[in-house]
Symmetry: C2
Subunit: 479 residues, 2 copies
């Protein structure tokens, strides 16, 4: 066999192709606001255009990039469009994209400190930076007993929190002998579906997750939570975990964390605070009230990959007592033993998460924070909130519409007063137009539209155009 033959990309070709991809992305981000936001592809459309089998021989890069344009782009729903107001955003930025690129280029594994010390230490440091940046309690910093770690998503953070709670409540008996059917967890009717998923995964079961009713602002009612915990205790069950949300998915409702936290302390329950979307707002002192009571939490998470210009995946998960989490998730086979781990002087993040392997995700977060500075991040958060508040004012001023929930930050839930059918037609027509993309929820049993301002490139003109489009389409609907 020839020693010379290689199929690898040469260094020169990598440079040339790399520049081309950089240019493609720059061009894409310049033109994305003119593309239909919601993909118009039909099920199976792309697959029908792709070859049935993998190529036997390599193909030129130019052919692949042309296919990105021709085949992939029509199947993209443009999350980076300034006209994307759906779900919660997954915003991004130049520095984040380049940080991700660098992480891919370095290609290290951060499972152990020793498998790349910088991957672990930069992550610890940047997550410590965020503690004062967000006005979080000092106990979440690694200087004390706590610490932060990057998870892929708030779903995974919730799962880890629930596992640690399960083990604390059973003194690690669940890890050894399995769950025993007596554990109970709590959230509200508005809590994200990932909590139900986690309750199933960890062997607690969906029926043992109590969904507590909410008040008129869609926030959990702590009086009902207290009643339910007492009833479960009286029935011989073992309440172990509460998830409180700072900014629910439906309407950015904020649960009363302080009251819930006091209750959890009293009854010995683990309190996890899910601030996936709205935690970022606390970069600005005027929104730091959102974190009132978080010092009573055992764990907390927020997602820079939603609203802090850091591309997915980047969820920051904090615990007040890292020992507990580590003891819950640690398994140490021979092939992972090493001196640094045994010295106890280092963090091995594999014990803070479900998977073993992990990318160098701290790089992109570091790039973002250094590029924007605290000042730049605050500026854009304030601007998004300002635009959403302006939109809420427009809704209030149009008698055909009503707000469906309080709009404390950058999400506005609204609807036509004329009923679900009209709102469904409005939503479908808007999304079919390609000019903007909204999603929906149900609030008080009524179909409601959600407009969330959080995309990196969204400016006032985009929000104003969205509102004009909404008004115009509303006018064409038969009464």
């Amino acid at each position: 066999m020839s020693e010379e033959k290689t199929f690898h990309l040469s260094s020169d070709d990598f440079r040339r192709q790399g520049y081309a991809v950089i240019d493609w992305i720059a061009d894409y981000l310049e033109r994305v606001e003119r593309l239909p936001v919601l993909s118009r592809a039909q099920p199976g459309e792309l697959r029908a255009l792709l070859p049935e089998h993998a190529p036997a021989r390599g193909e030129p890069f130019e052919a692949v990039l042309a296919d990105v344009e021709r085949l992939i782009l029509p199947g993209i729903t443009h999350w980076q469009s300034p006209n994307f107001f759906a779900y919660f955003p997954a915003n991004s930025s130049g520095p984040a994209i380049l940080g991700e690129l660098l992480a891919a280029g370095l290609g290290v594994q951060g499972m152990l400190w020793s498998t790349s010390p910088a991957c672990t230490e930069l992550e610890t440091q940047v997550l410590d930076w965020l503690v004062p940046m967000l006005g979080l309690p000092e106990r979440f910093s690694s200087a004390g007993a706590g610490g932060g770690v990057i998870q892929d998503s708030a779903s995974s953070a919730t799962l880890c929190a629930l596992l640690a709670a399960r083990e604390r409540a059973t003194r690690f008996a669940s890890n050894r002998r399995g769950a025993d059917g007596r554990l109970v967890a709590y959230c509200s009717t508005q809590t994200h579906s990932s909590v139900e998923k986690a309750a199933k995964i960890v062997g607690i079961g969906a029926e043992n997750l109590r969904q507590i009713e909410v008040d008129e602002r869609f926030a959990m009612r702590p009086d009902l939570l207290a009643q339910r915990i007492a009833a479960d205790e009286a029935a011989g069950l073992v309440p172990c975990f509460v998830c409180a949300t700072v900014g629910t998915t439906s309407s950015t409702a904020v649960d009363p964390v302080r009251e819930i936290g006091r209750l959890c302390r009293e009854r010995g329950l683990w309190l996890h605070v899910d601030a996936a979307m709205c935690g970022t707002a606390a970069l600005c002192p005027e929104f730091r009230y959102l974190h009132d009571g978080v010092e009573l939490a055992d764990s907390y998470c927020f997602n820079p990959h939603k609203w802090m210009f850091t591309n997915f995946d980047c969820d920051c998960f904090y615990v007040a007592d890292r020992k507990h989490l580590i003891e819950t998730l640690s398994v140490l086979p021979e092939y992972l033993r090493n001196k640094a781990t045994e010295s106890g002087a280092v963090i091995d993040y594999r014990d803070w998460q479900v998977p073993l392997g992990r990318r160098f995700r701290a790089l992109k977060l570091w790039f973002v924070i250094r590029h924007y500075g605290v000042e730049g991040l605050q500026h854009h958060v304030r601007e998004h909130v300002r635009l959403a508040q302006r939109f809420a004012d427009w809704v209030r001023d149009d008698p055909r519409f009503e707000l469906a929930a309080p709009a404390p930050l950058n999400l506005v839930c609204f609807r036509l007063r004329s009923g679900d059918a009209a709102n469904q037609r409005l939503l479908d027509a808007l999304n079919a137009s390609g000019d903007l993309y909204l999603t929906h929820t149900k609030l008080d049993g009524k179909l409601s539209l959600r407009l969330c301002v959080g995309q990196t490139r969204t400016e006032e003109r985009h929000v104003a155009a969205a509102w004009r489009r909404i008004q115009d389409v509303a006018s064409t609907l038969r009464p």
Copy 2:
């Protein structure tokens, strides 16, 4: 507030900085073989050099990139060095890096088909391509009842498989009411630690994971497995899951999948086959024997991010019956409802994994397969195996050394005959030299060194230099 003020990176600056990062990576990959493979950083060394607080104001990109060179690089253990022979590789390639870059640039969420149809359909298609590429059974393709999905890691694939097994065994009662302490799972003493972690996570418990003894080749003994299942059934327990490994982490031992599979069919257990490392070898027909019996499995995974030139994270996870997995992991709140999902005509990959959000990881896999073609991938796999076999020959020819296990593919486990202390000194000296990086395991109770050939840029000269270094260091050790 000024409408003009923005802190975002301009398009021109993104291009300029993007080229610089591409160049940095190209330079890095050219010089990486001359850098000490294992980082020499001490615990806390990087953190001591980083500012205590985040910058209030943004900093120039040039300062950040200079810090990557000055601060980060010394803390990197170079997984992309051709002298990296440790663990299993996490290899990468130019096309993979550019695919990851493009995915970051597009910044879409693939949680639902509708949130970017191309993200889902390209993934389904590329995973279908891999079925014949690896000689996997047709039932894993999406054309029938099965299908593939990209997970972040084999740990997560195992977790999903175990969850589906748990739910099949309990007819979804565990999801509803929690685990009941009667479920039992099986693996071997050589199985990856992620199976124990998963058994803890899903509420089965580590004590209910039976670690079956292995034969002299470190492969699971099906006779002992059968005995243990029978004993557990007789004790009123509920055996539900077996993990068989094609290429164990310690020594790439291959469990007898066909025999285990027959037993699982007979007793109604879910069989998961973990081929994280060695599945890639099956690209070559001469190694396809590795997949003998896989048609009896309920699920299967392998990691292109180990040995198929696709940067982490990219684990391909297949199930024979996708309905079962989906029913296990699906939760559908109002805000995720959409017409495409309700039509039943599309795949929503959020129901195939633990997290809700997901990146467009299929892009990098597609880039890799199109760049190399099947031919290019086969070439490099064969070359890695050839180099490892040559290394094994050299070990056999040196009377001071012995092979510690069969070396069927690209991993060679070996040791000095002179005992654990000598091997530890050998390992420490080699890794401290910076010239290469090996890790260890225990086989037959003896400390053994592992040399795995799987790095993208590893050529014969690197393996030969490693062997010379090993011999030289061995010569300096006092007998």
